[in-house]
Symmetry: C2
Subunit: 416 residues, 2 copies
């Protein structure tokens, strides 16, 4: 037999100690999001390969686990390319399936539709520490709400959840694709080079302002444009109120409703937030996905370099399924990173039920077993956790192990 | 664009109304099983194809969704057979992954190990009403417990869960592979024909005793053996106590500990059960999987023809990974069937939080929005569900729709 004991390369088994925290966190997330009126949905883990290969997913489309055709549809001899052999693929995110779901069921869904999704996604990335090829995503989305009420509710729901999980002193960074564009236009970059500019801007975290400046010049952009562009970012940094500063400087390049909407979001979030965090306008925030059309945001944790989640507005994606655009905005928590942070901080679940172990000596008469179990049943009915096990020869060691699992009380039943 | 709106063939999108019931049922299952000391684990949805193709899965192995190799490992030109192109497969059950998990982590796990798994499995079956190609399974297993304490706890945990979900007047049918074999041996069937006999016996539900008798004869088995065999089943049916009857008649064909163990299980379960059900000895119960070695059991619901779950003892499977056998016993709830029964019975979730919708008129001043949301935040903190949405032009229709979603109270905010 050549059975393989390890999980498949890049994926992991989850042991009880981690699983209990994952279940608890999922519960907090679901309860909190439900209190905001988000309703759970689920889609299959597989999608038609066409839906996963339409360029919306950017780099993720190169990382798809593909599912082979079956039965008569699979014809090895006449197959010329990979695509002749494949009909489905494992989803690489929850946003594409949500857009398909909405296109398929819009008539049966309320408007606006507030969706909550928790589910696994798969990416055949190179495995590395803390990055797995199967991982949980946790998304909320509001479909059919054009106004910034969507952004406000998404940010409040997400930050309330993080607060309930004990996170504090984190940041929500916010920006707008239209601000990104207005800053590039004002500086004199040509529209077709925006994407190239933003890819360099996105490195700000790592290489700093000087690094961005150097790379832009190296890429061959006009000295003057680069100067104007970097001056803008310096100006925002020094300004009391970054948005107002940009509104003044950018003038007609920036639509007035972008400014008022960003201010409204900040005012409402700051007035209503229940968690300890800062909403920070960050004009260097880019976010990779090409489908974003308006506001974009990201969670930054002091304990964790890099983002712990993010989202934004993508008003054009549902139209790619239906031909008719529907306003859409979503926020995704980086579930695996949240779990990693909680595990590393030695997080323990509050309010656990009392855990008792009943140890039954070997040879305990079978006809008296029922009495022991009846006693356990009674305690379980009252909400306690009761483990009924045979007593091992090395009882001391057994109790030590059970204590590590959280059992605090032991009741022993001897054969006589 | 050729995007596909439907989910892939044979799999389904789950809408909020069903999803809320699924989440509730999952919660009850997890809470109840935890009170019995079962701890949750999770394995990847994909397994090495070798682990899924070792004959333990029987017919299910023909139904595997296979995952294509990626990158350099995929070589279309040199591939002769399907297996050259495939490295992983989607799991078709949770038992094979559990055995692999246990083989991989036994040193880090308590003994006995009581595992709870809830997860999707995939089978490329022909789609039909109520049978999907992706579906949830919900398994509890006790590994490392040789005595019938495992069976007793599994049956009590499963039936307590079903009782909490409102099911009553169902049956748990129980049998033993060794009783099946003893009955066949006593009747004079040759050992190598047991499987063929059991396949026919398994049809009892559908074709009745006469049908089984006819098929056995048609298959060419000796008249006398068939007569002795069917007389046994008739005898059990007429007996006060089926097990004692068989113990008397079968004599040395049946090991004494099988009889006493079955009696102990019945005594303990009947003394300690919290749900309204009957434990019924059913000598015609076969269960398909070839890995069972001892007790086998099945849930039968009056509302549902066929089984709503089942399980049994499989003491040899872990040894196929490690070379060393570990006693193992499991019980699986047919999650999708349970959900179907609850949906059809018009089940509603007990103790829902109060649901209020805030309707905000179009043109409501942005600077006053924060007050509305702050009010919502306060109610949410107190455990209520508050939906904040824009007021539609057709407010009456909007309220009707929200009422259907369970919103009972409406608060309206006008622009002046």
């Amino acid at each position: 037999m050549s059975l393989v004991k390890k999980p498949v390369n890049g994926m992991k088994d989850i042991l009880p100690s981690e699983m209990q925290i994952r279940d608890y966190v999922q519960g907090v997330i679901k309860d909190t999001y439900r209190s905001f009126g988000f309703t759970p949905i689920e889609t299959p883990c597989m999608e038609s390969i066409a839906n996963l290969s339409n360029k919306q997913g950017g780099e993720n489309e190169k990382l798809i686990f593909k599912v082979m055709k079956r039965g008569e549809k699979l014809n090895l001899e006449t197959a010329n390319t990979e695509s002749d052999l494949v009909d489905f693929g494992m989803r690489y995110d929850l946003t594409v399936p949500l857009a398909r779901f909405y296109a398929n069921h819009a008539n049966d869904l309320p408007s606006p539709f507030k969706a909550l999704q928790m589910g696994n996604v798969w990416r055949a990335d190179r495995p590395q520490r803390g990055r797995y090829r199967q991982f949980m995503q946790c998304d909320i989305d509001i479909l059919g709400e054009p106004s910034n009420l969507a952004e406000i509710e998404l940010i409040l729901a997400t930050t309330t959840t993080l607060g309930r999980l004990g996170f504090r002193k984190f940041e929500i960074r916010i920006n707008e694709r239209r601000i990104l564009k207005a800053m590039a236009a004002y500086s004199g970059f040509a529209q077709e080079s925006y994407d190239a500019v933003f890819i360099i801007l996105d490195k700000m975290d790592k290489i700093g302002m000087e690094g961005v400046e150097a790379e832009l010049k190296q890429e061959g952009f006009a000295q003057e444009a680069v100067q104007k562009y970097t001056d803008l970012f310096r100006g925002v940094k020094e300004a009391q109120d970054g948005i107002s500063y940009l509104a003044d400087v950018l003038g007609d390049h920036l639509e007035a409703d972008v400014v008022s909407s960003m201010k409204e979001i900040a005012a409402s979030v700051n007035a209503c937030k229940t968690a300890e965090f800062e909403l920070v306008f960050d004009p260097t925030l880019v976010r990779g996905m090409s489908y974003y059309t308006g506001t974009i945001f990201e969670i930054a944790m002091p304990e964790f370099g890099g983002s712990c989640g993010g989202g934004g507005r993508y008003d054009k994606m549902i139209g790619s399924f239906t031909g008719k655009d529907v306003p859409a905005c979503g926020f995704s928590i980086g579930f695996e990173r949240i779990i990693l942070l909680l595990l590393e901080s030695g997080f323990t679940i509050p309010k656990q039920p009392k855990k008792t172990a009943y140890l039954i000596e070997k040879g305990y008469p079978g006809e008296k077993l029922a009495e022991v179990i009846a006693k356990a049943q009674e305690a379980r009915q009252q909400g306690q956790q009761v483990l009924v096990v045979r007593m091992n020869k090395n009882k001391k060691f057994q109790k030590e192990q059970l204590t590590k699992e959280g059992y605090e009380e032991f009741v022993e039943f001897f054969k006589r």
